[in-house]
Symmetry: D2
Subunit: 300 residues, 4 copies
Amino acid sequence: MSKAEKLLRTRAPALDEILGVPLKTLDDGFVRVVDYMGSDESVVQAARVSYGEGTKKVSEDRGLIRYLLRHQHTTPFEMCELKLHVRVPMDCWRQWIRHRMSSVNEYSTRYSVAIDAAQKTAPDAWRMQSADNKQGSSGALVPAEGERLTRREAEVHKACRDAYAERLEAGVAREQARKDLPLSTYTEAYWKTDLHNLLRFLQLRMAPNAQQEIRGYATLIGHEIVRRWCPLTWEAFLDYRMGGVALSRLETEMVARIARGELAAAEALAQRAGWAKGKNRERAEFDEKLKTLGLKAPWS
Amino acid sequence: MSKAEKLLRTRAPALDEILGVPLKTLDDGFVRVVDYMGSDESVVQAARVSYGEGTKKVSEDRGLIRYLLRHQHTTPFEMCELKLHVRVPMDCWRQWIRHRMSSVNEYSTRYSVAIDAAQKTAPDAWRMQSADNKQGSSGALVPAEGERLTRREAEVHKACRDAYAERLEAGVAREQARKDLPLSTYTEAYWKTDLHNLLRFLQLRMAPNAQQEIRGYATLIGHEIVRRWCPLTWEAFLDYRMGGVALSRLETEMVARIARGELAAAEALAQRAGWAKGKNRERAEFDEKLKTLGLKAPWS
Amino acid sequence: MSKAEKLLRTRAPALDEILGVPLKTLDDGFVRVVDYMGSDESVVQAARVSYGEGTKKVSEDRGLIRYLLRHQHTTPFEMCELKLHVRVPMDCWRQWIRHRMSSVNEYSTRYSVAIDAAQKTAPDAWRMQSADNKQGSSGALVPAEGERLTRREAEVHKACRDAYAERLEAGVAREQARKDLPLSTYTEAYWKTDLHNLLRFLQLRMAPNAQQEIRGYATLIGHEIVRRWCPLTWEAFLDYRMGGVALSRLETEMVARIARGELAAAEALAQRAGWAKGKNRERAEFDEKLKTLGLKAPWS
Amino acid sequence: MSKAEKLLRTRAPALDEILGVPLKTLDDGFVRVVDYMGSDESVVQAARVSYGEGTKKVSEDRGLIRYLLRHQHTTPFEMCELKLHVRVPMDCWRQWIRHRMSSVNEYSTRYSVAIDAAQKTAPDAWRMQSADNKQGSSGALVPAEGERLTRREAEVHKACRDAYAERLEAGVAREQARKDLPLSTYTEAYWKTDLHNLLRFLQLRMAPNAQQEIRGYATLIGHEIVRRWCPLTWEAFLDYRMGGVALSRLETEMVARIARGELAAAEALAQRAGWAKGKNRERAEFDEKLKTLGLKAPWS
């Protein structure tokens, strides 16, 4: 590793342009970049220390980054850090904070009066319980119902906030007065994590089965921030982590049989695996994969 | 390290006796031990691998554990694991979950209807905002006020729960319907951590400036669980982490001056450190320490 | 969650049978289970807390565990802990210790005289540098060469050990005397990690491109220990993590084209992706995947 | 939190001046800053989000940083990141890598030929085994002995390197050929960690009982890098973490007795604590503390 040259900190000029600018989501939420360290270049540099090699042509960086991501060589991506300032409903923050490999400083409602804002739902934004996904939603409520629920929501917000104000006025400690604020109350925080852990966050929270609210934040972070910050990593991430299909050992073998037209053999494999004709989640998921791959299940 | 003998898993018989038993706190919360690994003995065993030595007399274990804790040799304490099932208001859980070095599986209100219980406050349990600690409380509200706030609390709980029920009935997805539940709503979780990180949790959450609610949980875990599980570690923890006084380099020098009666020299040190006669938090804290140590500040 | 019943700690009877028994590898290495917490049952229990549901039929546990692993719901696997006592050459330990999510207490060569054993290589066990993998090996050296190198290895071991002994005899501190011990010197440690992180370790270290020495340890831990401890998880791990094929978004689309016989369209996709006819690692890897799936590349 | 202003990344101009410059230690080691994020200002900013307050006068930053460090409010310090390029003997690296909360990319001796340098010891730099500290050293060997050991060291280095070269020449895979390199062989790595974890590293590795080699690196990082980067944090760190005295609950009570001249009561406490007249490590350490504090033990 050459060490003669004077160093400058790595920069991501496209990200510098939006430094500090709040990117809005929900009725009153935002995400903004406060600081960062590194760029695509730092990922490449860290990977190359393994080889004892110096900088190469930019054209080779793309190939290396794709290789690293494809083969889950994750440590070079840890060399980049992103620090955000976020404003988010506590309900959504409960999911966010589950990502442990991060650093957090949150607005304190012990120390200060709670932020006077709760996330509001537009009449046409009430989502129906999904019939086939116990933890999801699908479709929207009819307008009249939505109007009614939105009015009731405003009443509940007012009732909670009034009770909070009443307690504070009576001299109750902030740490206790806050206990009945609704989960929709906005909080703010600095949130810092490295690129590897950020990609993991995005993979889970941009996924179709993530809850819509956090998916909005994750999508902003991905498409507006990471894309500007580390464009090569972002492209590789979309290719390898967000699209695509993963086949298990058994599924791989079955695809091979089906592709070669050995349908009976494929069906025998399914039998042996306990994929009875009845309801079986593994088989149902495999059927979906086959469809995506342009192949037909032997049992359909 | 001898490796001939057949091993049995380490056991803590005193802890086995309360395995699965809910220890109650708050109006409807609990903590119960679901499983554990290791004991004081495991701490000692891990420490001794460094020396390439085998088991010793029990009487020496106490000395070794105290030595490890005193000198912050923390890794041997990581060899013990505790897994709890807890029921706790979300408000309190927000503080709990900040301890990242732990494993968590929480009851999902996306998947299931929220637990129908919110933490209630007795009329005599409303705490006043502390005058000198911006994030604390001290003293209780007068009874009449307390009665009123408790009645209002019940109304707010009912309003929130009714709105939740109404949404569910209208077919709104659980993940969205829950958004205005009060922070006082109970949740349940499995929470697992190692003894080192548990002690860190207890040190912060049993401290006098921790919020009363989580202090109740932490105190239960410490006095009822860790005491039974790892009695030698628990004793050392109380001695070295929960009591005692830590003096900075400057404070150490000043104590030495004061103890030797060199009051002018001590005061000169304070001057040089910028501890002006006026309001200074560092000096105020030092005054407290001197009092605890039975010494008199030269400026008092 | 029901909480009436008296609890017993979860047990894995098949693992209890080998508790403390050293499983040998290399010329003088071993792995033995010292303690553990949890079992397949604990994974299931943790997952079900999300649903607020109690225990189910054993037959459903398998399906749930497979689902969790397939969809990367990793937190329930963190509820199980394994503690090993290992004896391993420092060279190999250098790779092992890179897995940060673990707890470690290692034999100290500052405190004690270094273990008097270095890993020896049999004459037929010298591996040739791989031609196509810069960090791998393939094939064995010719016997005569192997004999020579093994003799030289013994001389080097003796030279290092003699120098070490000489220093100790001269009164040099152990912490300094050890500095020229060969990397092949054996060390011992307690190593503890949870099942999720253990599976990650096994996935990387049982892989064909892992170095043979650590692959030996990982294979022992997987096939002899995890298989006995959590048989359902082990089966699912082999199916979903160790076999199978992962296709990127682009590869998925190309497979679909090829499966439908739209070869020109597939080739156009490859062109657009920059997979020129020449040497391209991504295309070469894709060709391998196609072969596994029983499909033919349009360009072959 | 105001969010109107356009942001620039935080800078530490004094650190920028030595960016990329190798700071030398040992015969052939170095540390150099490759990149960083944040500064004292970022610590303050993160702490203030808790209060919902904006920037204050610089003069108040010092007080806040000292408060945070004194009271172990560690999360704001996680907001700063430092990335180093280090060259260090593997022996020393074995200690370094134990700090898990960091990101690492190391030079690979599977992929490339090992760095052709091993740490050499000058004739006057051989340290004697400490008599009273089983894991320490004290004093130097007599010159004649030192000369001899240094000559032998060169022979051992040559023997190991020759064997390595011989294996490579015979076609042995690099991953296997390296197995008998001495622990003193230099390696290089990128090492990145946050300021909180860096301070923990420095506290342990700058301590008098840390091994001299790593103490050299830690001292460079502290005095040459952190001092330039975050001068207020560095000053507070030296005051609160590197100097000073920590008294246990019992010790605090005994100091109070001694300070008030109640010597018999102090001695009774010691008796009750089991500090018999004989050899007792806790009492011996307390005697040292008393001496530092300018107080006399009642039993002396």
